[in-house]
Symmetry: none
Subunit: 202 residues, 4 copies
């Protein structure tokens, strides 16, 4: 009954299902093979509608997806509970979590990387979003955690960024290019040492 209507009006619903379809397609066939027509067909939305909400087509949707799906990169709680004694433990936890998230959304993260490589533009805003996130985390952990109080805020943000980039870079290579260590646990062990060193040295 609902279905027989030719024009169904529910803007947000449509946008969401476009995102959902896109996300699923990323996992199923990868960024390169996705076309606007395919998205339209699967979402059961007309191409016109897709271009109404995403004027640049595929790349607009990818851009939106990056922000929309913007997975919790770091949970602030992890940092808040951090202190001198549990530092290694917390860092280990963060690494493990990060690795797990990437494994669980393997195809998605692969596709995001593909998308970034084929269109750096896409990543511009995402980069800003992440930097914003670092600033927020830095502020919060300095407030709630006296362990970080005498670290200058700028320095804290920068350290966070280097840690994050190192983490991402090595996990990316390990998962998508070639395994750096025979087991994930060895990678975690290695990363723990590296990241602690970065934190301590800065």
């Amino acid at each position: 009954m609902e279905k027989s209507k030719k024009f169904s009006r529910n803007k947000q619903e449509k946008i969401n299902s476009i995102y959902t379809t896109f996300y699923e397609l990323l996992n199923q066939i990868g960024f390169d093979k996705i076309t606007t027509n395919l998205i339209a067909e699967i979402t059961n939305v007309s191409i016109g509608t897709i271009y109404r909400y995403f004027p640049d087509g595929k790349s607009s949707i990818m851009k939106g997806t990056l922000e929309h799906t913007s997975d919790r990169i770091f949970d602030i709680e992890d940092f808040n509970s951090m202190n001198e004694s549990n530092l290694p433990e917390v860092v280990g936890h963060i690494i493990r979590k990060h690795l797990r998230v990437h494994r669980e959304n393997y195809q998605y993260h692969l596709a995001v990387n593909q998308a970034i490589l084929s269109n750096k533009e896409l990543f511009k805003d995402y980069g800003d979003t992440i930097n914003q996130l670092f600033e927020n985390i830095a502020k919060e952990i300095r407030e709630s955690n006296n362990f970080f109080q005498n670290v200058p805020i700028k320095s804290l943000i920068f350290t966070l960024s280097v840690v994050f980039n190192t983490l991402e870079a090595l996990i990316h290579r390990h998962l998508f290019i070639t395994p750096i260590f025979p087991t994930d646990e060895e990678l975690v062990h290695f990363l723990k040492k590296m990241l602690l060193m970065i934190i301590i040295m800065s």
Copy 2:
């Protein structure tokens, strides 16, 4: 009749110039914008011929290029001269060289990464080639350099591999995803500390 004959090259010559053209085009316009017709035109070889030697077109050529151009990842000489006292210096040299090579062949390395992500198959042989290279380097430097003589060969290979992967991972992220440090020199400085740590700790 003999005179009017066009300058005709033999099979291998043609294949080589296809590779050359392809490599140059990668750096000039990037993987996405290369078309088989363009390769044919520039190489002065017919499309038919291209498909004769590379039945899958562009991706065959990319695959071949990966093996063909397999750039000297590490120069063995760099390692041979290495000893306890000049270790930091040599590592710094290697990092700088690696970074420079990637910057100078930006599009090529970008394309290689794209190719790997979209077709892991392609990377299989390349991975083996690299592992082979590590073994060779390990053997050679143990022979020529008493600094490494009491390190077990397996351990040496493994350390080389971790160092290389870390180096590649961070340079890749710095160049293709987002700059990790404001300047290349800061990245080099950071990498130097990291890699030395890895070497020392192993």
Copy 3:
């Protein structure tokens, strides 16, 4: 509630602003690039409303604009002041004015010509309007100007029509197809001679 009500106009007001928008758009971007959606957006009227008043969309609006904007082709005053001695002067004035109006509304006149060529139907009424105009002018100038009193009315109308057509034809070609003379002033000079000849010979 009353307060939040948008400023709403009545039917005729809307139609008029659609015409105005259309006319401005013609001169700004040309007929081809105008879309119904754009008209709606700029006029601040919904597309639905546009289709309510102009069931055939763009071409309806063009048709209406032709009648609505029916620019003063000839100012009767110009003729009224005409006499044997100032004939060349007045003719020159009319030509210059005509040319200026076309230059100033280049895109509009271009669009009108395009519209006529692709849909002669559209021009039917316009043609009648113009003929009516000639009759009116002929009558008026005969009444107010004894210079034309002994010319038979039919003949006067016909002469007016030939003059007008010649004028339009040459200005049209000069502006829209290819410049007939290097400068506008040379065209005016040429047209003056031609039109005077036509007038004298008839």
Copy 4:
């Protein structure tokens, strides 16, 4: 038998049939309604082939057609036989011929005008072609016809051009916009007077 071949190779034949199809379509449905797909379908040539020979699609074909069909605008013979005594006769002949050609290819000339108005670019080269033609005619008639010998060549070219433009402008208006005279013969009579005047006055 011939038909069963999937790939038939006859470059020039294909180009010619594209022109033929285009010309016929101009007469049948007009420039605006022609699409590359339609041309391809009717000509029985793939779209790819069309774009191989006409890289800008429709407008390339129109451009080519303009040059290809470039109807004999003036027959040089008409001018060669011209002298002081038969001038009116020859001019009349040229006008009648011109008018007849336009009547016989009404739709084509209409379409050309439409095309020019919607894309002036198209006309650029055509304009040059015509100017070239005037130069050639001017040279030839000065050589073969002592009637024109003491007219400066520049002046002759210019007069030809003004005559041609006036002729075209009025015929265009008479045929495509609104009849200037009740009968063609009256138009011819009028044009004859006008053109002779232009020739004499210059």
